[in-house]
């Protein structure tokens, strides 16, 4: 996200660090999440600031859910950053799902950088109250 106009010593150091980071090009931030379960299913909220709908990838493969996203900020030409707290523009997080969840019926909504995922429980896994027989 940083573009440089004229390379100085510090920037050259940063550039060589960039070469390093190319080797670890799959480095990504772990977005913070909230996960809430109610009787109907699981709701997940994830903070993905700067991510637009087309840069968000959700994958379900057997029992894992992968959230992958890339933030894309409009950075003016020749910006030199002086203070960085969010140093990567990629987010990734993987969750293992349990089998009572209906992965075919996941709904997702991305609003102002917050992803809301709803994973309902499969029909047969809906809660039942178990009757206790009096002897």
């Amino acid at each position: 996200m940083t573009t440089h106009t004229s390379p100085s010593v510090a920037q050259r150091a940063q550039l060589s660090r960039k070469d390093d980071s190319a080797r670890y090009s799959d480095a990504a931030l772990t977005p913070p999440v909230d996960v809430i379960e109610d009787s109907g299913g699981i709701t997940l909220y994830a903070d993905l600031p700067g991510v637009s709908r087309d840069k968000l990838g959700l994958h379900v493969a057997s029992d894992t859910l992968t959230i992958e996203a890339e933030s894309d900020l409009a950075v003016p030409e020749g910006l030199e950053s002086s203070h960085t707290e969010v140093g990567l523009a990629r987010f990734r997080r993987v969750f293992t799902l349990s089998k009572e969840l209906d992965t075919g019926a996941i709904s997702a909504e991305l609003k102002q950088g917050v992803l809301k995922l709803r994973i309902p429980k499969a029909e047969h896994a809906q809660p039942r109250r178990i009757e206790i027989q009096a002897a």
Binding site: G78, L79, L88
Partner: protein, 145 residues
């Protein structure tokens, strides 16, 4: 102390370690502390014409964001609503990492920032603030007579 936006970020952890080392070796912080790991997370940069501030504040109603500029101090304040169910007894909260509640961050702008030429826009959960630098302080080429 605010909760960090990316609490499990290893780079941030290493950074924190480095910062604590610096503190241990008596490198004086500014009066507002080292000012990291707050909500919203800030990236700050500059071009010759502007100072650019990116505040990573996802999921906030833009109308509740309060942005003040007074005597060279820029304040970003607001509140993030709680997404967790409050009164559902049957709901279980399995993971709770996201920031919630009120926040306020203050930062000093450089001397040449023009308080009358500030633009701010909120998109995809990122607040981008752009402050123009005063024309008088921009580099000029002086022609030699």
């Amino acid at each position: 102390m605010y909760r960090s936006l990316f609490p499990r970020d290893m780079f941030a952890e290493m950074d924190r370690l480095q910062r604590e080392m610096q503190q241990a070796f008596d490198l004086s912080p500014t009066i507002r502390g080292f000012g990291r790991n707050g909500f919203p997370a800030l990236n700050i940069g500059g071009t010759p014409q502007t100072v650019e501030i990116y505040a990573f504040a996802p999921g906030i109603d833009p109308s509740s964001l309060e942005l003040n500029l007074e005597r060279g101090l820029l304040t970003i304040a607001g509140k993030r609503e709680n997404a967790l169910p409050q009164d559902d007894e049957k709901a279980a909260i399995h993971i709770n990492e996201r920031f919630q509640g009120s926040f306020r961050r203050v930062l000093t702008l450089p001397d040449d920032a023009d308080p009358d030429a500030v633009t701010a826009k909120y998109r995809d959960g990122v607040l981008q603030i752009s402050v123009q630098r005063r024309a008088s302080s921009q580099p000029r080429r002086i022609t030699v007579q």
